[in-house]
Point group: C2
Chain length 265, copies 2
């Protein structure tokens, strides 16, 4: 059981920013990643469509005999984590709770900003999760729909991205938050520009690191840690033009440690 792989999925390849942290924290674990590159992005879509797509991804990974499932996509975690849990016989971890815990424990002013896709922000899932942990907290959210295409196109330190970031983040800055949650797995790619825009006084929390720590804790609690250490990696995508390989490397911060395999769902 312990040697079984962990399944990780995302609407595309943004989830690789989470994989990057898992590789650091859990080098002994085998991973099977699935990115729905044929239908990315999910952020602008409705609940019904997002849920349908997410359950298709879930079923693909469950058929791979995984021991644990990580939903490495904030939109899916926000919209239909319960639906994924319902069909999964193995434990499921989303990317929202880890970042929320970290933000609430680190924020001193309890004024917390959240940015994400339109679907994530409209769901108000972050607000609910933050207020559960810190009822006195004030949450200021903003959808930043252009951040995903800007990140995917590599406009990481581009003047256009700076202008758009300034516009998206102005209200959050005016509200005097001391902590900003990056509620989308694409956003760590734009961390420098976001940091620069909100200023030094605001600490940035992304999902990748807290999620990998939470995953480690959950595996340990369930006695599911792989102690053998013969890890293997597979990366499945639903579409694989040359560009996916290129961008994937950028998101992971290194070459993919396994093959990129195209499948049809």
């Amino acid at each position: 059981m312990r040697e079984k792989p962990i399944g990780i999925f995302d609407s595309g390849i943004g989830g690789l920013t989470v994989v990057k942290e898992i590789l650091k924290v859990l080098p002994n674990e085998s991973l099977i990643y699935l990115g729905d590159t044929a239908r990315v992005p999910y952020g602008p879509r409705g609940k019904e469509v997002i849920t349908k797509f997410a359950l298709e991804l879930t079923r693909f990974l469950l058929a791979k005999d995984i021991k644990f499932l990580v939903v490495a996509c904030n939109t899916i975690s926000a919209i239909c984590l319960e639906e994924v849990k319902e069909v999964s016989p193995v434990p499921v971890l989303g990317v929202i709770d880890g970042a929320v815990k970290k933000a609430v424990s680190e924020s001193r002013s309890k004024r917390i900003g959240v940015i994400g896709t339109r679907a994530t922000v409209n769901s108000r899932v972050y607000e609910k999760a933050i207020k559960e942990l810190g009822p006195a907290a004030e949450v200021f959210s903003k959808a930043c729909p252009l951040f995903v295409p800007l990140a995917e196109e590599g406009l990481i330190s581009h003047e256009a991205t700076r202008i758009i970031a300034k516009e998206y983040l102005s209200e959050i800055i005016e509200n005097g938050v001391d902590t900003l949650i990056l509620g989308c797995t694409h956003y760590p790619i734009l961390k420098e520009i976001i940091k620069e825009t909100v200023g030094k006084g605001v600490s940035i929390v992304d999902s990748a690191s807290p999620t990998s720590e939470e995953l480690k804790r959950m595996l340990k609690d369930r006695d599911l840690l792989n102690t053998k250490g013969q890890s293997s990696y597979q990366f499945f995508v639903t579409d694989a033009p040359d560009r996916v390989q290129e961008v994937a490397t950028e998101f992971l911060g290194s070459d993919l440690p396994g093959e990129l395999i195209k499948i049809t769902l």
Copy 2:
């Protein structure tokens, strides 16, 4: 037969810029539109995936007993128009030939620029079509992947769009074209900024108007024009969050003249 509707499809709602012109030129025709808003955009995807999706859209419209099929998407027209024609018992018209004819006949220098999605530009379909009509023509192409999200987000006269347009179009401008084809049904939305960027000396050709004229000619040639004039309109989409209705209106330049109906393919 003549009273049957015309089927029109696009990867999303960009094709409504073509519908807008068809409504002007052929007010007597009934139209059934299908936009794959659950899987838009197609531009960054590979040939296999684009073809699979396009054939699903084709089959849906063919089942509606249409008399004619318009592929109101440059990416699909560039990647798999032949495959669509193969499965269609009714005549099929793409959005490439009309714009190419107009550009070649109007260009005096025969130096023609083409902008489109990554899939469209990589296909080199415009280059081939232009050189067939004007073998001496020189073609300068550039993929402008951020124009679609910028148009959909309504950044129509925004500084960030201006900066990105300048960057995308600089090479085409340096090459001294006198005509620029907007090879994507989203781009007419950004026409003003594109015009401003390339300067007055360059005439802009989009697909919408030449395609509607070509459609009228083809219907007439085949004795398929609806002379009764009791037109009706239906707009099917595969996902319909509130935002689709909003953006649709913007692309059409007026309220939708028919209901927006959500379907699952």
